[in-house]
Amino acid sequence: MSQQPTTTELSLNLDEPVDQRPPLLLGDNSFRGITEAVCRPVEWVPPRGWYIFFGVSLALLGVLVLSTAYLFYMGTGIWGLNNPVGWGWAIVNFVFWVGIGHAGTLISAILFLFRQRWRTSINRFAEAMTIFAVMCALLFPTIHVGRVWVIYWALPYPNQMGIWPNFRSPLLWDVFAVSIYGSVSLLFWYMGLLPDLATLRDRAKSQLRRVIYGIFALGWRGSHRHWQHYERAYLILAAISTPLVLSVHSIVSFDFAVSQLPGWHTTIFPPYFVAGAIFSGFAMVVTLMTIARTVFGLEHIVTRRHFENMAKVMLLTGSIVGYAYAMEFFIAWYSGNPFERFVFLNRAFGPYAWAYWIMVTCNVIVPQTFWFKRLRRSLLWLFIASILVNIGMWFERFVITVTSLHRDFLPSSWDYYSPTFWDICALVGSFGLFFTMFSLFVRFLPQVAMAEVKAIVPAAHVHHATLHPAAPHAGPGAPAAPGAAPAGSLATPASLPQEA
């Protein structure tokens, strides 16, 4: 790889001096270099690995299509659902995928508002992932209704029968919450793509490419006026998306928590679900990014520092999830309610204890390894840990859904739930859908928000030329906050003796 960062650069990037901000990008971070690096995967003939990946994904997508067709033909009886366990893998998968879809908007909205500039290297990627994950998520409740041909009844529209959906049902709130989230995320993502699509249009060698990218670039010319509107729209969309990040998974948690079922009905569910969603979303970004950056030669843009930051987010959210597990357990005991107590003991020591302990190991113990700098920086461990985390998060939803249901208030109706072949096909197939979309994304769209990354390189700094006449790129500390202007611009009288 031509952009392979040098050792000194790497240590500069990973150093954490307190008196200056480390550079976020490595290697060739001139504007041109960034454009070339990001556009190459879109403009080259992809390596064989891409075709293999795409082929496998397509095959899995085929599994999804076939198993869903069979489901429509036969009905949900082909799944492992039984009498106490009316919600099985389909709901587990739904919550799992919605959760995955949380990293993108968190990165593009909340980290934007918190001025976390490292996000620019990964936000496009994560936002794309969000949209594909929301697509997978929406699939499951849709096919779970059984009579999928009347799914539009879930939408409130005036009709001659005078029938409306039940507005008091959280399942209907889900329809609104997830579809609004999907639309806003798509809009946010697309708007962020405009300048980059225009770049691809301008670089296009064939007429066809120019026309197609040109249509989607909506006539972007990069004038000052365009940029001014763009920045304002970006801020407003970030402000709109921020509550959405919290609301979607809160509403999903309401699906469970508004009921009276022990194990579902607990007040910590909304923030706990949100933290878990961000946790799994970041894990998925890490899993895919470790591969993509190597395959597409983006190591100098998505550096180990980015991974370290993502590991820290996972440590935080994983610990919040652990906190929630602990609170559930403590309050189940503290409530003095025998049913509450039973459900939690049953989770940890009942027939599904194996699932519970997989969940605890993967979600609580694995992220604790990120306390150690060496493990945060080991890409191999991050890759393994991120997969473990997503396994754990899938099991979390499994534990919540199934263990609370399978032993209800009436012991005579207790049953053990196990999935069938078709349940497995649906889950595996949804990964097919996700990865198919994903491989198309990396093939046809820029994986890194070029325009945004360029705004954080030293050369974009207003005072760059005066501060670093000798070092055009990668001056340590230069990509720090743009507010870090030189003292001359201060209101404060500045007599400048050096300290420390």
């Binding site: 007040t267 909304p270 409530s335």
Partner: protein, 405 residues
């Protein structure tokens, strides 16, 4: 950017000016506080006033404690996130958090008066109530007292660790202090989260020992964070009126404090609403009783005022850029939120004592002034003794030059 140019502050910007009213703050506050405590004690000795005195004192205690805990959280988070913008306001939060040991001392009457406050602390109540009896391993006097001690020891230790290193850096300017605190900040957050949660369970939730909510710790925490941002904005702006730190904490910092105040007001609402919504919708009597109590009599109006005052009003008021960037508009918002935050705690505690409706009385005021006076006195004393900003923090220059964009 320190390698490019390090703006430093002149000595008179770093210290309270000799003439400032603020220099007499510790004495004035201590006098008010002690006087109020004595009056509170005297009034509380009256027949039938003991319970009221204790409940009022608990509200006041939890109120000032929430500011101190919020301050501790703020300081820890600045190190955990390696924040640059906030250095100039951090010292104010540090002074607020170092009141924690004092608050621990002031907490003693609550442990002493446990029987006035906590129904479960009466052995006969436990005897006749199987549900309470099953909670006895947690809700009992020795364990409760030991936990209270543990919380305050933990908070004091954390506050002291961060405080000492930060003020020592003023003298030696060692960047290692910052590195050290950055490393400490992660574990500190864990300790903070656990202690605050259980403190909220012990001192607020167990007032109604049958009732439970897994979210409750987060609720109190959300209030603490709102309180500290309001407190920082308020103190900063008041100092600015006295021409102290006027060009150090700039409009940009107030803008950020305002944004965070806005954000955490919404966060508080999110937590409060989620808790209410799930309990209301689930409609289990053992849970709804808590809200039912707060809708009876004049408590219903208090609930409404809280919903409007702690969310609707600040939400629309703080939404615009202009209100956050102008002292004349941000100061009322900070004052307002500190007021409704008191109302929030009052609303959490008092329906236990006065189920029939809100009964504000003089004891509420004396307790508030008593604990508050001590808090402000110590805060003011520290303000006099140390530099007003962490003057040799490696990120001071970044903070001074900070601009929103």
């Amino acid at each position: 950017m320190s390698h490019a140019a390090t703006p430093t502050l002149s000595q008179d910007q770093l210290r309270l000016p000799r003439s400032a009213v603020w220099r007499s703050l510790p004495w004035a506050a201590a006098a008010v506080g002690l006087l109020a405590l004595v009056v509170h004690w005297l009034l509380g000795r009256g027949a039938g006033a003991a319970r009221q005195a204790h409940f009022s004192y608990l509200v006041a205690m939890l109120y000032w404690l929430s500011i101190a805990l919020g301050a501790l959280f703020f300081v820890i988070v600045q190190f955990a996130t390696k924040a640059g913008w906030s250095v100039v306001v951090r010292r104010l939060a540090e002074h607020a958090m170092i009141t924690l040991p004092l608050l621990g001392l002031l907490f003693v009457p609550i442990v002493g008066g446990m029987h006035e406050l906590f129904h479960w602390s009466h052995p006969e109540a436990m005897q006749h109530d199987a549900l309470l009896a099953s909670k006895a391993p947690y809700l009992n006097v020795p364990f409760f007292s030991a936990r209270a001690l543990l919380y305050f020891v933990t908070w004091t230790a954390l506050a002291w660790l961060f405080y000492r290193r930060s003020v020592r850096q003023d003298l030696d300017g060692a960047p290692q202090a910052t590195e050290r605190l950055q490393r400490l900040s992660g574990p500190a957050i864990i300790l903070f989260a656990l202690t605050v949660t259980f403190a909220a369970f012990d001192w607020l939730m167990s007032l109604d020992p049958h009732w439970y909510s897994t979210m409750f710790g987060v609720y109190y925490f959300a209030g603490c964070v709102v309180a500290i941002f309001a407190f920082l904005a308020l103190v900063g702006l008041l100092l600015r009126r006295a021409r102290v730190l006027a060009d150090v904490i700039t409009v940009e910092h107030y803008h950020d404090l305002g944004k965070l105040l806005f954000g955490f007001t919404v966060f508080w609402t999110y937590i409060a609403f989620s808790q209410f919504m799930l309990i209301w919708y689930g409609n289990l009597p053992e849970e709804t009783i808590w809200y039912a109590r707060r809708l009876i009599g004049s408590w219903g109006q208090v609930t409404l005022v809280l919903a409007l005052g702690h969310f609707v009003v600040p939400f629309f008021y703080l939404m615009t850029r202009a209100t956050k960037r102008r002292g004349a508009t941000l100061l009322p918002a900070a004052l307002w939120l500190l007021t409704v935050h008191y109302l929030d705690l009052y609303w959490l505690v008092m329906p236990i004592l006065h189920p029939e409706g809100a009964r504000p009385c003089l004891l509420d005021l004396t307790a508030f002034l008593g604990v508050g006076g001590c808090f402000v006195a110590l805060f003011g004393r520290q303000l006099r003794r140390h530099a007003l900003v962490p003057m040799r923090d490696p990120r001071l220059a970044e903070s001074l030059a900070f601009e929103n964009y």
